[in-house]
């Protein structure tokens, strides 16, 4: 949607390649201000376990999706929402793009997962950031429509005034004590 902004030079990290956070020694005061991919990883995924445990429980409590073996609860392995994820960050341009992979092709929770991701980032990053949330290409049956909805800030604003989606998002984002 806003491909023009994507910095072709920005480094793209996949989750598996997480590096150890560099020691603060080599960081000058300017660098402290910088937000990099790793920080976004941290924001989104350090508590990813609790994030998706919450999501999983909510899914199970409120809704059961049309999956083949309903007795088998969602496991993190099955919730491969983020394994293929790509995060693109350009701090200079104040730009973040998160691409996620819905659990199954027809996952009807895609818009809610995307909404959770957006809210999490919105609440964690400085307001100067422009954020795009996208479904990984080819992973969702209605990819374009989901992307359009997730990036319409008016729809997002309206959803977050609506108690039910808001509760769902808040529950997903709450720290889990499991």
């Amino acid at each position: 949607m806003v491909s023009g902004l994507i910095n072709p030079n920005s480094v793209v990290y996949e989750k598996k390649e997480r590096r150890i956070r560099s020691a603060p020694a080599d960081a000058d005061e300017y660098a402290v201000e910088l937000i990099d991919q790793q920080e976004i990883f941290d924001i989104l995924f350090l508590n990813i376990y609790s994030f998706f445990i919450n999501l999983e429980q909510l899914v199970l409590i409120h809704h059961i999706r049309d999956i083949k073996d309903p007795e088998h609860p969602y496991s993190l392995e099955e919730l491969k929402v983020i394994t293929e994820d790509v995060i693109e960050v350009d701090d200079k341009q104040s730009y973040v793009c998160v691409t996620f992979t819905p659990t199954v092709e027809h996952c009807n929770m895609a818009t809610i997962i995307g909404l959770c991701l957006r809210v999490k980032i919105m609440r964690s990053l400085p307001s100067r950031y422009k954020v795009d949330i996208k479904v990984a290409p080819g992973t969702h049956a209605t990819e374009a429509v989901v992307n359009k909805q997730l990036n319409d800030k008016e729809r997002v604003a309206a959803a977050l005034e609506n108690p039910n989606p808001l509760d769902m998002v808040d529950e997903c984002l709450a720290p889990s004590y499991n």
Binding site: M1, V2, L5, K148, D152, A157, E161
Partner: protein, 366 residues
Amino acid sequence: MDLLEGRFELKEIQTLEGHTDRVWSLAWNPATGSAGIPPMFASCSGDKTVRIWQHSGLQSWDCKAVLEETHTRTVRSCVWSPSGKLLATASFDATTAIWEQIGGDFECVSTLEGHENEVKSVSWSASGSLLATCGRDKSVWVWEVQPGNEFDCVSVLQGHTQDVKMVQWHPSIDMLFSCSYDNTIKVWAEDGDGDDWQCVQTLGESNNGHTSTVWALSFSPSGDKMVTCSDDLTLKIWGTDAQRMHSGDGYAPWTHICTLSGYHDRTIFSVHWSREGIIASGAADDAIRFFVEDKESSIAVMDAVMVTIVMVSEVDGPSYKLLLKKEKAHDMDVNSVQWSSLENKRLLASASDDGTIKIWELVSVP
């Protein structure tokens, strides 16, 4: 003066703080700013309030009133009746409120219900006798103003297939325009026997239209052109046969004149055409841009900025050039830009996600 000749600068007059959430929209009161009445405008916000701002005479703008405790959710848009006496506000709470200034206070004199959920835009017809609303339920409603602040629904129009983002009446004839998340602009008119309203034209992709959500539209001063802005990062100029439109001799269709692409980096939320002919746009890239018709050349090559002006309809048709780009006009998305109708000053107000409203003056630099 010829706008193309001069050099311009956007001078910030004042930043207005007060809203505690993003400011979605603002509207100048058309009955103010002349005959000794100080200019006034209204703004509305995600903080569920509407604020009324007035020029105090000392180069400063003050918040004169806060209209609260009526809407229970975001107030998405606000607009004054042509007489300036009534203010209509559309809210995510599914209602449209009508406010009247009684004495020094603004009172909510009517509430229009009927939309299923979020109302996103409201517009008064040129005469002030009709009101249109639109919203998330994909419908456009036409209301007739009755005596005693009563509003009768005269039509519920369901042509859009998605969320309707904005409704706008034509500045001189009773024809209604709506733009939508379904990427189209629709034109609505009363049917032959005056019994109901119907869609008379849809401007979509097949008409060189937009390829993503159309967020807003605005008419040229004479009403024979219209500019639309979109999530597809373009502005589009449309035109119609003004003579035919006013003669009432059948419907004068709108056609695509040109597309201004390559200027904006993120979604364009707002566009407004000044009386003088300057198009202002506000976008999610925090910038405000100004465009004017380039009467001299039909193939425009701009300095400094990478620009492509796509000429589609006719070789000698008008083209538009970027007059000025104000980077970082706000700290966040610019949601609304509105020219005041002041005669002697090019005054513009902008509203942003950063919670502020800014008053700007477009001044020529010697």
